[in-house]
């Protein structure tokens, strides 16, 4: 089955964005494919002005959960709504997509931070953007946005110093004599090299490396990274893998004042480690290309090669995937299991949002298994099939019903010119929602629904209100639509 140009753009925008409105498709379809990819990748050329649209007519709504108006830097539910708003409306969608990727990769949960300090401080640490804050605090998620397609080594260093991470993995408490292993373990197991590439002794040594990488609150204004020399373990640390390019496995003893370099040396080592590039390449492959079939090892190896040759740059890795010939192959269409937030953002873009508030997505997303800023643990969400269970699928079907109900009259109005027959109505719905082609049995089930209970199809407003929303509910809630 040959797919047309628009379908290739829609495929690109389901993967490198959060789906597309008809206007989005038209904009990108007007340029050569490579130019469309470059527009997505080089988003720095496009102004970051999406937040200015919050609360404006013509955009999906938000409903303040903070007591004194919409406070995304202080109230976590408002922060969740702002992120979802950006997913739906940003003109730099790949930036938001990669921020989501890093949020899962460096999975940090609000609840531990709010339990340690309070909800306002935790939201600030996670979601503040500099212009929100009197002290120009950069929340962890803004860090991910700033480095979304940047350098992995720089990102890893920034994450190691990130206040939310210092709370989440207890780095703030890691001091000489009684090291805290939490961060060092996950640095190796989850953030870079992966399980099976290191020993328990590396965890113990790694914890000592990061002693003194703590948290301070200068002038009581805000929490920030602070290297506390007096708390640093100055003895040598030995690892089972090379730390330095010359093969040395030992971080030598250093004076406390220079001890922060220990951590930078270890980060360099784990970023350079031969398991890290392939692991990141595979995660990006799964995220952008295909997570259901046997992976294309040659392509993954090539992406890993780019990681090392570029000095750990993420953008050329993603460019390699999106401009590969494989990306356009039919076998790679609809081969990702959408994450709940992707599903919600895409359905809003394809179904419509007029009169809909993102506050209404918060509980459904919880039921689908993805609450932003609350991953289940430091390994992130259980991706792929892990999203799908009877309860999780039912939550998706029921969100589809909720959105279709909310958009009932908008959909009716859109359907008026195409409501001549159940077939033409169904054709309109499928074109708007971009699922893969249904099997004949499923297509007939949709058509039978459109006809059911109507002895004489007239295309009246009543019939269109019921059956357009009903078909949108069924399509968005179908298994086929969950694949992107």
């Amino acid at each position: 089955m040959a797919r047309g140009r628009e379908q290739h753009i829609e495929h690109l925008l389901r993967r490198a964005a959060f789906g597309a409105t008809e206007e989005d498709v038209a904009r990108y379809a007007n340029m050569p494919y490579v130019a469309a990819v470059e527009r997505l990748l080089t988003y720095d050329n496009i102004p970051d002005e999406v937040d200015g649209k919050i609360g404006q007519p013509g955009y999906v709504g938000v409903t303040a959960r903070a007591a004194n108006g919409f406070q995304p830097q202080a109230n976590i539910d408002d922060a969740r709504q702002r992120w979802l708003f950006r997913m739906v409306h940003s003109q730099r969608p790949l930036q938001e997509k990669m921020a989501l990727f890093w949020h899962n990769h460096f999975a940090t949960a609000y609840s531990k931070i709010s339990g340690t300090f309070n909800g306002t401080e935790a939201t600030r640490m996670l979601a503040s953007k500099p212009s929100d804050d009197p002290d120009r605090v950069v929340g962890q998620y803004e860090l991910f946005r700033q480095n979304a397609l940047g350098n992995f080594r720089e990102l890893m260093i920034a994450v190691a110093k990130d206040p939310a991470m210092l709370v989440w993995l207890d780095g703030r408490l890691n001091v000489r004599g009684r090291p805290q292993e939490n961060f060092a373990r996950e640095l190796m197991e989850l953030f870079t090299m992966g399980v099976g590439t290191f020993q328990e002794t590396d965890v113990y040594a790694g914890a000592r490396v990061f002693t003194g990488w703590n948290l301070a609150r200068p002038n009581n204004g805000y929490y920030a990274f602070s290297y506390v020399a007096a708390q640093h373990d100055t003895d040598a640390k030995e690892f089972s893998f090379p730390i330095y390019p010359n093969g040395s496995r030992v971080i030598g003893g250093r004076a406390a004042a220079q001890g922060m370099q220990d951590g930078l040396d270890l980060i360099d080592a784990v970023v350079r480690h031969p398991a890290t590039g392939p692991r990141l390449a595979r995660k990006l492959y799964d995220f952008f290309m295909n997570e259901t079939d046997t992976p294309d090892q040659a392509l993954i190896q090539d992406v890993a090669r780019i990681y090392y040759e570029s000095g750990y740059e993420i953008k050329p890795m993603v460019r390699r995937l999106l401009t590969s010939s494989q990306f356009h192959e039919d076998r790679n269409f609809y081969k990702r299991y959408s994450w709940p937030v992707e599903f919600v953002a895409r359905s809003l873009k394809e179904v419509g949002w007029s009169g809909f508030s993102l506050a209404n997505t918060l509980t459904p997303l919880l039921n689908m298994g993805q609450q932003l800023f609350e991953p289940p643990d430091v390994a992130g969400w259980e991706l792929g099939r892990g999203w799908f269970s009877t309860g999780g699928m039912l939550a998706r079907m029921n969100f589809a019903a909720q959105l279709a109900s909310n958009q009932k009259f908008n959909l009716r109005d859109l359907a008026r010119p195409v409501g001549k027959s159940p077939e033409s109505l169904l054709s309109f719905v499928l074109d708007r929602l971009t699922p893969n082609d249904y099997a004949p049995s499923a297509y007939n089930a949709l058509l039978d629904y459109a006809r059911a209970g109507i002895s004489n199809w007239t295309g009246s407003d009543d019939q269109l209100a019921t059956k357009t929303s009903g078909l949108v509910h069924l399509v968005v809630g179908s298994g086929d639509y969950q694949l992107v």
């Binding site: 339990g115 207890d170 408490l173 001091v175 004599g177 009684r178 805290q180 292993e181 939490n182 373990r185 197991e189 992966g194 399980v195 099976g196 590439t197 328990e200 965890v203 799964d286 259901t292 039921n367 643990d377 390994a379 259980e382 991706l383 792929g384 099939r385 892990g386 799908f388 269970s389 009877t390 309860g391 999780g392 699928m393 039912l394 079907m397 029921n398 019903a401 909720q402 279709a404 109900s405 249904y438 099997a439 049995s441 499923a442 007939n444 089930a445 949709l446 039978d448 629904y449 059911a452 209970g453 019921t466 009903g470 509910h473 069924l474 809630g477 179908s478 298994g479 969950q482 694949l483």
Partner: protein, 421 residues
């Protein structure tokens, strides 16, 4: 090289044909099964429970020496006697509900459960306890393999997970286990009238019935929708359950209440999964203060389980029910500088139920970190296992589920099994 849970889910499961029985079978199966049956409730404490704060060796001076701030004073523990080596032991002061179950002889505590070369990784550790296979912790779960041995077609409600993800313990080759985190939310919604909603449900079921062999990813997603349709009417019956007492108002206790409802309504489920988290207590563990973190964990655990136990007892269902508790590892003996504890090794398992032979099983570790101390490992840092956790599973499979433990566990662990049932 070890396989992570994530890699497994992406790769390994694709080889399985996970599906749900067709709805037509369901009502007959449920009727045939009736209500009188044995229920197994797996209770997972997520994050690695600090066994030395759950069951306290309050006469071991090394316990207090190594835990200067976290040690629970002997005067506060709920004394439950001594193990066979004469080590006096007490439950955490907040476990008053479990203490009364212990006193009734229906709580078995198996000390120092684990396995050789204990993993300190949450993810690998959980996979090992879930698969019962330390050498290759991927593939199906131990209870998934039990489900696979039951006659097919299997009623999809044979097992019920109260969390949103299907835990690996329940991962089976032949059946998808439904996740039902909220009974009330487990229903089919529609944007239109009830009449049109019925048409929509019929259509949605037909769409979900498409399980193409050449598109296993679509077949898998559709099978979860199919499973929802096959189970939601019976689950709705649990909505009308009236418990005999009020459960605590938290997610864990409410999940136990739903399980009690499912047992009382006789909807046919044999295996339940429930979990409660927050056990990864690296910092400010709060074992002692009235509102400390670990004290809160014990309150949630003890009060929830006690409510469930009393509710079932009041309904005469206690003898039908067995609760089996585990956690992925226990924690380091010596507290860290943040008044917390890092990842350790062997921990404890609890078994609770109307036919449980209550008491203390196994022996406590001696906590002196000297080289001759064979009850410790990792240079005296962690507790070494004494009872292989698979022997406990073996006992449960043989004596409670009535299946063949050796077939399910892929080996014979009966020899060391504590006689808890």
């Amino acid at each position: 090289m070890a396989i992570t849970r994530r890699e497994f889910v992406r790769g390994g499961v694709a080889a399985f044909t996970v599906g749900f029985a067709a709805p037509a079978f369901i009502s007959d199966l449920a009727r045939a099964q009736g209500r009188a049956q044995r229920n197994l409730v797996i209770l997972y404490l997520s994050g690695g429970n600090d066994a030395l704060s759950t069951l306290i060796p309050y006469t071991d001076s090394q316990y207090y020496a190594r835990r200067p701030t976290l040690g629970i004073p002997a005067a506060n523990v709920l004394q439950i006697g001594s193990d066979r080596n004469g080590q006096a032991l007490g439950l955490h002061p907040r476990l008053t509900g479990l203490k009364s179950i212990f006193d009734a002889g229906r709580l078995a505590i198996v000390q120092r459960t684990g396995y050789p070369n204990s993993s300190r990784s949450h993810f690998q550790g959980t996979d090992i306890w879930s698969t019962a296979d330390p050498s290759s912790p991927s593939g199906t779960g131990w209870l998934g393999r039990y489900l696979d041995l039951l006659p097919s077609p299997l009623d999809p409600l044979t097992a019920w997970s109260t969390v949103r993800e299907t835990p690996r313990t329940l991962l089976a080759r032949t059946v998808g286990v439904p996740s039902i985190p909220s009974v009330a939310g487990y229903a089919f919604a529609s944007p239109n009238t009830p009449t049109d909603a019925a048409f929509a449900r019929d259509s949605a079921l037909r769409i979900a019935s498409h399980l193409p062999a050449d598109q296993p990813h679509l077949a898998f997603v559709n099978s979860t929708a199919q499973g929802a349709f096959a189970t939601l009417d019976r689950v709705a019956q649990v909505n009308t359950y009236v418990s005999t007492l009020t459960y605590p108002n938290n997610g864990f206790a409410q999940a136990l209440r739903a399980i009690a409802g499912a047992i009382a309504k006789g909807i046919g489920t044999k295996v339940f999964w429930v979990q409660t988290g927050g056990y990864d207590t690296h910092a400010t563990q709060g074992t002692n203060p009235a509102n400390g973190a670990y004290t809160q964990l014990m309150a949630t655990l003890g009060d929830g389980v006690a409510a469930f136990y009393r509710d079932l007892e009041n309904q005469g269902l206690l003898r039908d029910t067995l609760i089996l508790q585990f956690s992925e590892f226990s924690r380091r003996i010596t507290e860290n500088s943040s008044s917390g504890t890092d990842h350790g090794a062997a921990g404890l398992m609890l078994a609770i139920g109307g036919t449980v032979r209550g008491g203390l099983y196994g022996t406590a570790a001696r906590l002196n970190p000297t080289p001759d101390n064979q009850t410790l490992e990792n240079n005296g840092a962690d507790v070494r296992f004494e009872t292989d956790f698979r022997s406990v599973y073996s006992k449960v499979i043989d004596s409670w589920l009535g299946a063949d433990a050796n077939a399910i566990l892929g080996g014979d662990f009966r020899a060391g099994a504590p006689n808890i049932l």
